[in-house]
Symmetry: C3
Subunit: 321 residues, 3 copies
């Protein structure tokens, strides 16, 4: 493990994917470049590649997410890996076993890769660190979302999508809209956009849903959505979690939609060729209007398709390095 960046080995190659923070621009670019040919597989009769043939990929989901788990399962199977799905809330940890005992056990089953989703920030990092300390770091770790910390494959697929439609990051104005405070997706997006040289990143949210450190991360904060959307090239919507809608931080879903829901009228303030992104699943009528979600500027479904390719790229690079 590289001490300055535990995701990279001493040759600067990706060893784990834990967070986009601190990932060098050329590593991100290499991931996106590697993903590109995988998006073409869909047009072929045979969609499978033998790059992970005979490898065992464990989906360790300590937090339930059928959608994200499915994208990793498909990506791994298209690389010919054996995939083992584990929902750990129903498993040994319920029997009182510690996280690291569970990891050691699965490692002893000769796992090659752990895809980890966990409600606690830092859990995938802890696992990677433990594997290094116990000389098992031939096992790769991919963070599939940890607490409020990071969701790096989401951030990367978002970058793939932006590059696909906008080519050059260095001339863009990008707005991220919604519950930035609680969002691991937003954190990963901001780190990726900064690293790739986006000159203006805007965060649009009510005061209760913006982290105090936002401006330190180099973003411009807007509480007025109309102000924030003016002239942007990319609108990245965030999902409003149900628990937030019912909580004390927001008045009501209707009120939220009025102020922060993306409608055609608000979208008209962005550049005419602006694209609209969303990590899914969408709350139609809460953070996004159906006319926008299904409209010509939305690239929400291509995001999903690119997401499979990006996850295949990450997995094959980790297995190859």
């Amino acid at each position: 493990m590289n001490t300055t960046n535990p995701q990279l080995n001493k040759h600067g190659e990706l060893q784990h994917l834990l967070t986009i923070e601190g990932l060098p621009r050329d590593v991100i670019t290499r991931i996106l470049d590697t993903a590109a040919p995988f998006t073409e597989l869909v047009h072929q009769e045979e969609k499978k590649l033998p790059l992970l043939r005979g490898k065992s990929v464990f989906n360790l989901f300590f937090e339930n997410s059928t959608r994200t788990r499915t994208t990793f399962e498909i990506a791994a199977k298209r690389l010919s890996a054996d995939v083992i799905n584990l929902n750990i809330n129903t498993s040994s940890t319920a029997k009182g076993e510690t996280l690291l005992d569970t990891v050691d056990n699965l490692a002893a089953m000769q796992a090659d890769m752990f895809v980890v989703r966990h409600a606690s920030s830092g859990a995938p990092f802890l696992i990677a660190q433990h594997l290094a300390a116990t000389k098992q770091d031939h096992i790769r770790v991919v963070n599939a979302g940890d607490g409020r910390h990071a969701h790096p494959t989401q951030g990367l697929l978002d970058m793939y999508t932006i590059r696909h439609y906008k080519k050059d990051f260095t001339k863009l104005t990008v707005a991220i809209v919604g519950d930035i405070l609680h969002s691991r997706v937003a954190r990963s997006q901001i780190h990726a956009l900064s690293t790739l040289g986006v000159p203006e990143i805007r965060a649009i949210a009510p005061k209760t849903l913006i982290p105090t450190a936002a401006e330190r991360m180099g973003v411009k904060v807007f509480h007025d959505m109309r102000e924030g959307l003016k002239g942007v090239d990319v609108v990245m919507m965030l999902r409003l979690q149900n628990e937030r809608m019912l909580g004390a931080l927001l008045p009501s879903p209707q009120e939220y939609f009025k102020n922060y829901g993306l409608t055609p009228e608000k979208l008209a303030l962005a550049k005419p060729d602006a694209i609209v992104m969303h990590p899914g699943p969408m709350n139609r009528g809460v953070e996004i209007d159906s006319a926008v979600a299904d409209g010509g500027q939305a690239v929400i479904l291509p995001q999903v398709t690119f997401g499979i390719a990006v996850r295949m790229a990450v997995m094959s690079m980790l297995a190859g390095n």
Copy 2:
């Protein structure tokens, strides 16, 4: 999509399998013919065929059914497909995503086939229609049971079973016994039997469990089981759902068994070589006596074996057309 029959393309080839209603006789016959060699695979050392190699089959079960899901999973794996199981009640729809958003997302993951089970009648049709409207109808839909509407692969495997034992449909008297009102299985059976030219189809049930439209579907209704079974070639029992047993439509399971349970004594009224079928799982002592279920006239387990072959036939035809 063919506007008169959305399951067939303009060449009259099967594109989706949504319902047996309206399916031409030659299409049904072709499915049964295609299934025949698949029943022989069991005797071979290697049970797998490469017909769906590299294809992604999604089992979308919005309603839980381990047994049906398993039969499709086995059928798809024997055709070398990658199978992704999704129990959607625990997934995104719980997060408020709409059915069609879920479908669009999975389609964007480059699915090749959706096997859909849903509590609402018409859900698989809605999905097929949506795929056509969004130009994604290279993705095939198989209805694995929708509400009270249809369960076409069950109907087809039943036809396979009858043809296997009785050869010629055009000389048969077939009785369907049980809760016809709530049964998607019965609906699919009646459509299939009619199309294949069975001259006499009987429905045997208490008045509370027979649809008012039964006679319009061309069946003869009997409320007295002994009357209805006289001289039949085939007895198709239905499963009595637990919720029905406890409900207001029936006096008690014991009373039901007395009147509509298939006992050796009642079965003796059918032709001596009559076969007994059941879609499973059986309620022994409710709709069927163990002496019949385990007796020489029962073909209930062959139905299961033929069911795998019929599902392989449907999947390989859909993938090939």
Copy 3:
């Protein structure tokens, strides 16, 4: 089926694996010998062997156990089998279907092997017997733990581990520590150790957790852990089930740890090169101290690795015989 030992065919070859009790020494030895090369697969790029190619292995878990299910799933996939996971508590038995109807149905789906976990002692035996009675005994049964009766693959992997570290069984003193009364693991260990010729088997437990028949099984009973550990070569810890901790049989987890928890100080009474085993998942601070669990004498993680190889050995022998 062999009438004196239903696990063996008339040539004395393994047909099912139901229990270690009565299994001849040479059969056990052959399993361990077969497992040995499978432990080397980990060092190869390609971990898969084609020995179960095209076979359908059903994991029938009537009792939930993600860990054990995962070990069998990995073992079967490394042998190239198709694996179908069934958690049966959520399935047909909930719909009132009997165990044997479920088995018949899955057999009719052309299963090749059932891996069975069940809360009732004897369930796998009942299934094997039923398959023989219905002339379906080409389907193999592996007991993955039944009630308090047996957990033969655990017993076998424990023997593999002991042989790996100690070579010769006939000179060893082995102590089993913990809740022997309720433990299917302990039963399988005792039968295996006896058959392989271990001259001294000790059972260390409080009076409330030792079966009255223990001494008839040829073990020496100790209630004082310090006495029991003196000079042993192998310490096999058992997991203390949570329900036991809260129950009437024990005062408290703290009290249990004081008397029967394996600490470095108690372990020092064993031979200096004694190994420490545990079937997992561990309750640290209840039956085992972390200093021991993570210490140099523990071989708990190698047990897991050997467990995959032993399960591969059992499955490939059953498929081959």
